[in-house]
Amino acid sequence: MKNIVLQNLVFLLATTVPLWGAPQSFDFKDPKGVNNVVFKLDAPLESINGTASGISGTVHYDPAAPASLKGRIVLATASLHVGNPTMKEHMHGKDWMDVAQHPEIVFEAISARPGAAAGDTVTADVTGKLTVKGLTKEMTIPVKLTYLKDRLKDRFPQKQGDLLVIRSTFKIKRSDFGINAGKAEDKVADEIELNLSLAGMAPR
């Protein structure tokens, strides 16, 4: 009897202990097409507003230990879109984003410093490496993380699992990443405001 109890205890520990404290992997390729990055640049006639939705990547996150956040978010530059077709052609061209040579923008999160928490939401300053047009720059961005436990089924009824929502707004300079650096600054501002709205899923 004692052996059976011991065996069961060992089995229970063996199957559950590795799950404690283990970050979950959230896949940010969203079949619903909701994940997006909005970009905004000031310009004389009107500000240039556009979106990009070609998002993929994986983030490892433990809601009990937000500081453990690590991961990689990839944005397909071909998905960058603005309403004016000529402007879009220029944006995808060699001087600006050079989509043919640089098909991806990558942010690799290295560390996170959690801030205020409220319910399932926590703010954090995430430090990582942003690579745009082949140039990598380390930067820290403010992020709001919302962990939605067991909510994957609300988006995909056939799946069980959790969701991680990431929101972030920050600015970069196109001159830092060689995006037509130092040119046309009277027509398009150097500063680009980015607004990230991402949801990743961790199926079980």
Binding site: L45, E46, T51, G83, S197
Partner: protein, 83 residues
């Protein structure tokens, strides 16, 4: 010929103005797609879907009015028709 070109100029100018005015008097650049804001009910995330729609802007208005002016000018190259 002069009368024909001047009438064409008037037509082009009026058509351009009407398209721009009824297109929403957009004071930005011409667009062929416009963003429509949506909200994902589960995550609360806001996202945009692009809707194919022609939205004439100031460049369209300017080009139409310049074309009208060129037609007016070209009309003066021809002698006035007898009435």
């Amino acid at each position: 010929m002069r009368m024909g070109l001047h009438l064409s100029a008037l037509g082009v100018a009026l058509l351009t103005l009407a398209l721009w005015f009824f297109g929403g008097m957009n004071t930005g650049w011409t667009k062929t797609s416009v963003p429509v804001d949506k909200v994902d009910a589960v995550t609360g995330l806001t996202y945009q879907e692009w809707e194919h729609r022609f939205l004439p802007g100031l460049d369209f208005l300017g080009a139409g009015l310049i074309l009208a002016a060129v037609l007016v000018g070209a009309g003066f190259l021809f002698p006035r028709g007898k009435s």
